[in-house]
């Protein structure tokens, strides 16, 4: 399997404060990888290192098989990058912006650019500085999709956008980047959970996990156990149980390593006979809230 994005022990500090620590990230080819984490987790820092906007203190990052510090115009012509807060040349009209960028990209597709403008409902003759935030993001995205990039990196693209614009962007991104690998960061899973194939959770600069969405959803369960009265008051909790709450005979927890039979065996090992066990699948949002809480508790 090839990895359009791969990092090894990537670290970065800002004035002595660690922004990311030993980040090992692998984004699979043609996957849509969601990099999730609270604000300040290090997502933007990681992405900026990948794009060679800033330099890592240690470790290395490879993008499209090239050390990120050596990204040349050849690689950049295959990468689309859109970030919240990116400075666009406000004096350019939407149309001129696209026509200015066109000669930089050998794979530029005029018909796709026109289609994107139409789909995003972008006014061709309006200056970028006169566009709303959402429209600017659309313009940036259109300018980054029109050459059919092999890799699309989106850093918090939906921040500050209303749901309608967000949906329009998603609808624009997916068909236009059918054969592309996408790395998208967000602090809100709701924004991206509907279309990502892989997810990584970054907290305080550390990648807590990175896996396929289906696997993640499969291994997290909310467990509710009704005890049979004779259970120990201070049991040794199995590894992988999180957010454990106990109220009399009722125990609630999240099992992050759920496997039907194995989990049941664990429950019996801890509590002996129980009256009732229920394992409910969790929505992704609940999984991340659980992880975030656990991470904070550990810290």
């Amino acid at each position: 399997m090839s990895w359009p994005i791969r990092t090894e022990n990537l670290s970065k500090t800002f004035r002595g404060v660690a922004a990311i620590t030993d980040l090992n990230l692998q984004v699979p080819e043609k996957g849509i990888y969601g990099l999730i984490g609270p604000s300040g987790a290090g997502k933007t820092t990681a992405i900026r290192i990948l794009m060679n906007i800033i330099r890592a203190r240690s470790g290395r990052a490879e993008v499209l098989g090239v050390d990120s510090t050596r990204l040349s115009p050849r690689e950049l012509a295959s990468i689309g990058y859109v970030a919240d807060g990116q400075d666009l040349p406000g004096w350019m009209t939407v149309e001129y912006f696209l026509s200015y960028l066109k000669p930089f990209y050998p794979t530029w597709d005029d018909s796709l650019a026109a289609e994107l403008l139409r789909e995003f409902d972008l006014p061709r003759d309006r200056k970028l500085s006169h566009l709303s935030h959402g429209m600017r993001m659309k313009a940036a995205l259109a300018s980054s999709l029109a050459y059919r990039p092999r890799l699309l990196i989106l850093d918090e693209p939906f921040t500050g956008l209303d749901p309608l614009v967000r949906d329009e962007l998603i609808e624009g991104i997916l068909p236009a980047s059918e054969h592309a690998t996408i790395l998208i960061s967000s602090h809100d899973l709701n924004d991206i959970e509907s279309f990502i194939s892989h997810v990584g959770y970054l907290d305080r600069g550390r990648l807590l996990f990175s896996e396929q969405m289906t696997a993640l959803a499969g291994r997290f369960r909310e467990i509710e156990i009704v005890l049979d009265g004779g259970a120990p008051s201070q049991p040794a909790w199995p590894a992988g149980w999180m957010n454990i709450e106990r109220s009399g005979d009722l125990v609630r927890c999240v099992d992050s390593q759920f496997e039907g039979g194995r989990t049941l065996t664990e429950i019996h090992r801890v509590f002996g006979e129980v009256r009732h066990v229920e394992a409910r699948p969790m929505p992704l949002r609940a999984i991340f809230v659980t992880l975030a809480k656990a991470a904070r508790k550990e810290a």
């Binding site: 900026r48 800033i54 115009p73 807060g85 990116q86 400075d87 040349p89 930089f104």
Partner: protein, 496 residues
């Protein structure tokens, strides 16, 4: 190259208002600097406005793809960095250098200078414009993200410079070097240009703003150090090497001038310092060369072995007409130890020898008629009533050398009276020994006017003769003076 032109066209489209302002200001300067206009105030204003307009244009140019701004859109686009740098260089050449070149040509033509012989000055002016304005401003802009940071940097550098000047002013290290000043300016300029080139290249190719800012700070400090601590003697040695003529100075001798003993001084001040002046006699100059003392280094050794050493020239030399003196500021403790016994003074006198006299005869007319005066420029001699005016213009720089002016005329009432020198005038002008063909002034023509009143009615000057001597050698002559007793030079009231 195609990408560079693409970026260039974008910058032209973006910056046309700024380009228009620079072109209008440059054109205004070319017009206002002409000899026929009386736009003195406008010209003064334009000489300030044009550099500001250049700086603003360069800043806008760099900031349109700022290497220091991480969020700038171009950073993640497939720009070839060399194309980007080439586009910016092309823009500066086309909209800053080229118009200034054209303005220089217009001004030179307006003042009657032929263009082809002045091509060296025209081109060197462009080098200086790039070195003093374009590169440093561009370098500063590549390490800042916008005008706020740029102005902050300029203010910080300005304050640091003012502070440094105050500190250095107190030590005497910053005294002007006059004709040798160019060595200091060019040394500092070279540091600045090398640093600017490195920073610009590094920033465009690597975008390493932290290191580049550090380098910029280091460059500013280096410029301060060069300006303050470059030894005058090293500058003089460089100047000597640049003179290709060899002059035999074996007979040249420097010693105490007993005929000028009255000018020797040992002045004791209440603050504990003692000013000693020793008049020097210089003999044996190779004829027909003229001498000019530029500086002196010396040591004074007392009988007990106490030694005082002078600082760097030129403050160690006092010149008044033909009189050249060693000027030593001693502390009173040293002075008191050595003053009553003969001392030994050893040192080196740094001299410029002038020769290759070239003369021009300029007829005095009622209407100005420009004629070439070698070593001076284009000159006209005119008469208004009893006033005689010599008006000279020099392109790009005043040629280094000594110029004498003689008013030549005949006796009015004696038929067949021979022409004779009626009056001599001085011709004060700042000169530089700089070997390069331009001083880099914003207006490429400098003018000097000398006026003389006809003193008597029986003779009337008809011609002004200019004689220009050019520097042919810069030599160091070592000397030793023995047996002087410094106390002998104290004024009578001090000795009481």
């Amino acid at each position: 190259m195609r990408q560079a032109l693409h970026i260039f066209r974008k910058d032209v489209r973006r910056l046309w208002p700024e380009i228009s302002i620079v072109q209008a200001t440059t054109a205004g300067l070319a017009f206002a600097a002409g000899p026929q206009t009386s736009w003195g105030t406008a010209l003064s204003l334009l000489t300030y406005l044009l550099p500001v307009a250049w700086c603003a244009l360069i800043a806008r140019l760099v900031y349109s793809e700022s290497p220091a701004a991480d969020q700038s859109f171009w950073v993640t686009r497939p720009y070839s960095r060399t194309s980007l740098l080439a586009a910016k260089a092309l823009f500066a050449a086309v909209f800053v250098n080229l118009p200034k070149f054209a303005a220089d040509v217009v001004i030179l033509r307006a003042y009657g200078f032929p263009i082809l012989p002045e091509m060296g000055g025209l081109l060197w002016n462009q080098v200086l414009l790039a070195s003093v304005v374009v590169l440093p401003v561009a370098a500063l802009c590549t390490v800042t993200t916008g005008f706020v940071q740029l102005i902050t940097a300029v203010v910080v550098i300005g304050l640091a410079t003012a502070g440094w000047s105050m500190v250095i002013g107190g030590t005497g290290a910053g005294v002007p070097w006059f004709a040798l000043e160019w060595t200091r300016s060019y040394s500092a300029g070279l540091v600045m240009v090398l640093a600017a080139l490195s920073i610009i290249t590094w920033q465009y190719l690597r975008r390493d703003t932290a290191r580049s800012r550090f380098a910029a700070g280091g460059a500013v400090v280096s410029v301060y150090l060069v300006l303050a601590f470059l030894p005058w003697t090293a500058a003089f040695a460089l100047q000597s090497r640049l003179c290709r003529q060899t002059v035999d100075v074996s007979r040249l001798q420097v010693g105490f001038d007993p005929e000028m003993k009255w000018a020797a001084r040992s002045l004791v001040y209440r603050d504990g310092t003692v000013d000693v002046q020793i008049p020097l006699r210089i003999i044996g100059a190779p004829a027909p060369l003229q001498l000019k003392a530029e500086g002196i280094t010396a040591s004074i050794e007392g009988a007990g072995g106490d030694v005082w050493r002078s600082g760097q020239p030129p403050i160690t030399l006092r010149s008044a007409g033909e009189l050249n003196s060693l000027h030593a500021s001693l502390d009173s403790a040293f002075y008191n130890r050595v003053k009553d016994h003969p001392v030994r003074i050893q040192g080196s006198l740094y001299l410029t020898l002038y020769g290759n006299a070239r003369t021009a005869m300029l007829p005095i007319r009622d209407q100005a008629e420009l004629l070439p005066a070698p070593g001076v420029g284009l000159c006209s001699a005119t008469r208004t009533g009893r006033q005689i005016f010599l008006n000279c213009r020099a392109a790009f720089k005043t040629e280094p050398g000594i110029v004498t002016l003689d008013l030549i005329g005949r006796h009015r009432f004696v038929i067949g009276a021979p022409a004779e020198r009626l009056q001599s005038l001085s011709y004060p002008r700042p000169i530089s020994y700089c070997p390069f063909p331009s001083d880099g002034n914003l207006i490429p023509v400098t003018q000097f006017t000398q006026a003389a009143e006809i003193a008597n009615s029986w003779a009337s000057p008809t011609v002004i003769r200019t004689t220009a001597f050019e520097p042919v050698a810069h030599v160091r002559k070592d000397f030793q003076i023995n047996g002087l007793r410094l106390a002998d030079f104290e004024p009578a009231e001090n000795r009481k």
